[in-house]
Amino acid sequence: MKQLIMKNISKSYGPVHALNRVHLNFSENGIYGLYGRNGAGKTTLLNILSSRIFADTGTVTWDGRDVVRHPEKIAASCCYMPEKHLFPGGFKISRLLSLAQQAFPDYSKQTETRLCRAFHLNTGLRYNQLSGGFQSIFRIVLGLASNAPITLFDEPVLGLDAVSRDRFYQELIHAFSEHPRLFIISTHLISESADLFNEAVIIHNGEILRQAPVEALLSNAFYVSGRASDVNTFLKDRTVLGSQDVNDLKTAVVEGNLHTEKPIPGLQFSSLTIQKLFIQLTADPGGQESDHE
């Protein structure tokens, strides 16, 4: 099983540490989600994986080969659709797609035609004539049709309406089941996308907080709520991820498995959604409620 491995990757832009000692493992057939706040390091991470930029320290290997020393190996297998608009604006979409067909060895013209129809993408227009949403759609079509063994998407659903987003998720799974490959997708839409992923990676301030299947993440945290005094007693000697007080009542997010907890009178345990877990893990210290006194 081929692996894409990041070992000890660090990258700084002057005084800013974009990535700090990142270790990540991706297996060749899987869909991985990359979650992080704005500026957490998601784009830097994807750029380093695809050799758009180079890390200060550490190595990236694909199938055992260092991608910097053997750039042709990763280039032949990788398709990275960035968030930025890096396409020549004056070129027609049809021409850009045919260039992609030449450039990517496993490209499927059939998939491209089907997707263009599904998303109503007018291939006769020039790239700079497309709206922001359709530029995202164009990147989606290209990325999925490329059939590249490593396909990276940086915020693929930016500016897309709900129908198109849902279509993307459907087409992503369809593409993955027909032609398994490694997908890494960064997105801000956490609740929508969580079910797509084999594993989710949560990155915060350049460091990896979690890499695990979404279910594992959710089975390792839960809400405890009740009277503040009771809750505080419960929270002793536990890892608390966040809490919220209203009058005399308190709700806290705590690490542990909800189903192995002994029921305690006066306390209610309930499960967390992945989006709430993400917010708790990456919110500013002091909590989200601190401004509303």
Partner: protein, 242 residues
């Protein structure tokens, strides 16, 4: 290999579109200028002549090969390695240098032919004395080929430097260039004039240019072209996307 084919298809199209502008605007403006000059009797049809002009396009080639950002970033999106980007740009530069060299030699052949038929002499254009032309068309073609390649390579290297070091570097470069052209160069001329050396200097330069050794110059230019290409490669081999 397919990556290079795709990159070439893209590069050729971009540069062809840019060259088209030059290839019709330049002859058109030249033709109109001469027509105007003849109409206003500044030059007469008999005393005038057809002269070689298109060789000024080497400057145009230098200028268009400075373009780097859009091509580099798009070719990276198509997952080209930096080596593949380098090779495809080199081939594009060679292709367009060949095209323009063919046009330059063709122009010379046609102009000489028409001058002979119409009985003109190349006397009214002072710059023509210093144009690097030689009798042998093959040598002529080779000379202009390496001259164009050299200009393309220099432009590519400069463009990649602008990309790497950003807008501040680019502004500093053009500022220095303009300063030299508009301030330092005229001041140099004035100093020479003060010392009554101007005429002698200009005629020495004139002597050099009119006894131009095309073959030797070709060799030098070839070395320069290779040098600039090497510098271009060294700059882009680990160039991060901005």
């Amino acid at each position: 290999m397919n990556k290079i084919k795709a990159s070439l298809a893209y590069n050729m199209r971009v540069y062809w579109q840019m060259s088209l502008w030059y290839l019709w605007i330049y002859p058109l403006s030249m033709g109109l200028t001469y027509f105007a000059l003849i109409q206003t009797r500044i030059i007469s049809v008999e005393s005038g002549s057809l002269i070689y002009r298109i060789w000024g396009s080497v400057v145009f080639l230098f200028a268009i090969f400075i373009r780097f950002k859009e091509d580099f970033e798009f070719l990276l999106v198509l997952s080209n390695t930096r080596w593949q980007i380098f090779i495809s740009r080199l081939i594009t530069a060679l292709g367009f240098s060949t095209l323009f060299s063919v046009l330059i030699v063709l122009e010379r052949v046609l102009v000489d032919h028409f001058n002979r038929i119409l009985g003109y002499q190349n006397i009214t254009d002072p710059l023509h004395r210093f144009a690097p032309y030689t009798v042998n068309p093959a040598m002529q073609f080779f000379y202009f080929l390496v001259l164009c390649c050299c200009c393309c390579a220099a432009g590519m290297w400069l463009g990649s430097l602008f990309y790497r070091f950003g807008n501040k570097f680019m502004s500093a470069f053009w500022l220095l260039f303009s300063a030299f052209l508009l301030i330092m160069f005229p001041m140099m001329m004035w100093t020479l004039h003060q010392k009554s050396l101007l005429i002698r200097t200009l005629s020495a330069i004139g002597q050099f240019l009119s006894h131009f050794h095309v073959a030797a110059a070709s060799g030098t230019l070839l070395l320069l072209a290779v040098g600039f290409s090497a510098l271009f490669w060294l700059n882009i081999r680990r160039l991060p996307q901005q």
